[in-house]
Amino acid sequence: SPLGARLLSVLSRDTLTEDDWDEIEETLLLADLGTGPAEELLEALRTRVRVLGVREPAAVRELLREELLRVVDPTLDRSLALDRPVVDGVTKPAVMMVVGVNGTGKTTTVGKLARVLVAEHRSVVLGAADTFRAAAADQLETWGSRVGVPTVRSAKDGADPAAVAFDAVRRGVTDDVDVVLVDTAGRLQNKAGLMDELGKITRVVTREAPLGEVLLVLDATTGQNGMQQAKVFGEVAGVTGIVLTKLDGTAKGGIVVAVQRRLGVPVKLVGLGEGPDDLAPFVPEQFVDGILG
């Protein structure tokens, strides 16, 4: 990529000038890391370059990669909570919910996840708790029917999403399934009413079974507003993991570096396309190499 090429050409000069450092910073900014984290990384890199007396460009590049990898943290546990909880002697389904702003890929992620789980021979129920967006439940049902899992939905638009989510989880309990995946409507984090509604959905669901995973679905094209999304969704819905979608495009998704740190929860999955098989585990090394080009 041109970015990578540019970075390489910067780093392949003998001594780094202030301009060179600026250009390295720009590479990080271009990946949506944000000014704060980019400055921090640069500081750490400068210090190490100085302390280690590094001169060779390849070595500086390797140091930058190390610093980035350190903040992305390869040691985090990125597995999904799929163990079925036992409550009062009853084995409940593992319940997962997706949340996020409009159009990030929540419904698609649920569809892809269902596919993965079914392939692992787990039984699954989908809950269409987006009762607002035009044809949202139909979209989820299409995904469900393709992998042969039932979708619990309301008969009409505009029904109470918490009630639908509750019904889906109850159905999961009654049918003794392994996993219930609850899709929710996209909502902007600055809409207090919609965020209250999300809080209510989580509370109502929890009455029937604990929420094992609340996945914040972030679009890789998202810029600095991603931090605001993380903050508010984290507070309202108790996010346990991040899904970074649309990484098949040209965006790098660098905002998740700061988001992961802010929320203290890892990126668990990435979306790499619109097809049913385009979901993959998050691999820190690949992500970092994507940023560096």
């Binding site: 094209t221 998202t222 600095q224």
Partner: protein, 319 residues
């Protein structure tokens, strides 16, 4: 977490108070703060670079005004430049001399195209037009159903001869489903024969790097020779705005831009990036999920929003 630009500039203003002319150091200090603010607002790096250079140059050559201190003067210049790039020349929809007027929507996945189709249809209907919506997104699961629901809510008819990607279709989404080019072409013919004076063609979301789908968009454009091709872009987008806007400009040569999800709290620096890189006007703002959440784009409001300064002029007066 960060102080707003207003706070940081106010601090800068304090130091600069009472100086009578623009020194290079004054300008540099102010421009640095502005650079940071633009980057935090997601304005693309190359655009920030070019923009701050232009501001710096203009500030250096600026006439010294008695009423304003140096920093205020720089801010005034920044604001003026921003408004100019964002659309000194905002314009309304170009209507065809011989109806129907054909409007094509294009953009990344999830940007807000289908919703916008409904908003446009409703707004045009209220102005006395007779729009027809055309369902040429056969790719996304139930996009056709979604458009049909949106059309019903807007009280306008929809042309949807193909069900698109539904459970009944055998569709894996990695291959092209149906013939969206044909649907678009037939939709325009339908509008002509049924005397609809506007046709709005909804298309599938696609990535700039998706050769196959980008070619499909170009083919749709060629088949229907639209009067307007509107590029819908999410106000929350970050640095990718430039790459994506350029890809769509090359792919479908859009005629105008719609900034969506402006009801959020993103600062929307992408607006500046897209306007600057493509030179295409930002025509509308999409400001909610309801079909009435739709307005004409206001460059001056957007400039204040990007700078995070509330009313820039008030700030200049107070300093």
């Amino acid at each position: 977490m960060f102080n707003s630009l207003s706070d940081r500039l106010t601090a800068t203003f304090k130091n600069l108070r009472g100086k009578g002319r623009l020194s290079e150091a004054d300008i540099d200090a102010t421009v640095r703060e502005i650079r940071r603010a633009l980057l935090d607002a997601d304005v693309a790096v190359p655009v920030v670079r070019e923009f701050t250079a232009a501001v710096r140059e203009r500030a250096l050559g600026a006439e010294v005004s008695g009423a304003l201190n140096p920093a205020q003067q720089v801010v005034k210049i920044v604001n003026a430049e921003l408004v100019e790039i964002l659309g000194g020349q905002t314009r309304t929809l170009q209507l065809a001399k011989t109806p129907p007027t054909v409007i094509m929507l294009a953009g990344l996945q999830g940007a807000g195209k289908t919703t916008l189709a409904g908003k446009l249809a409703l707004a045009l209907k209220e102005q006395g037009h007779t729009p027809l919506l055309v369902a040429a997104d056969l790719q996304r699961p139930n996009a056709v159903t979604q458009l049909a629901v949106v059309a019903e809510r807007a009280g306008v008819p929809v042309f949807a001869p193909h069900p698109g990607n539904t459970s009944s279709a055998d569709g894996e989404t990695d291959t092209i489903i149906g013939d969206p080019v044909g649907v678009a072409r037939d939709g325009v013919a339908e509008a002509r024969s049924k005397q609809h004076d506007v046709v709005i063609v909804d298309t599938a979301g696609r990535l700039g790097v998706d050769r196959l789908l980008m070619q499909q968009a170009a083919d749709i454009r060629a088949a229907i020779t639209p009067d307007e091709v509107l590029f819908v872009i999410d106000a929350m987008i970050g640095q990718d705005a430039v790459t994506t806007a350029q890809a769509f400009l090359d792919g479908v040569d859009f005629t105008g831009v719609v900034l969506s999800k402006l009801d959020g709290d993103a600062r929307g620096g992408a607006a500046l990036s897209v306007a600057k890189i493509t030179g295409r006007p930002i025509m509308f703002a999409s400001t909610g999920e309801k079909l009435t959440d739709f307005e004409v784009f206001h460059p001056d409001r957007m400039a204040s929003r990007i700078l995070d300064m509330g009313d820039v002029l008030t700030l200049i007066e107070q300093a």
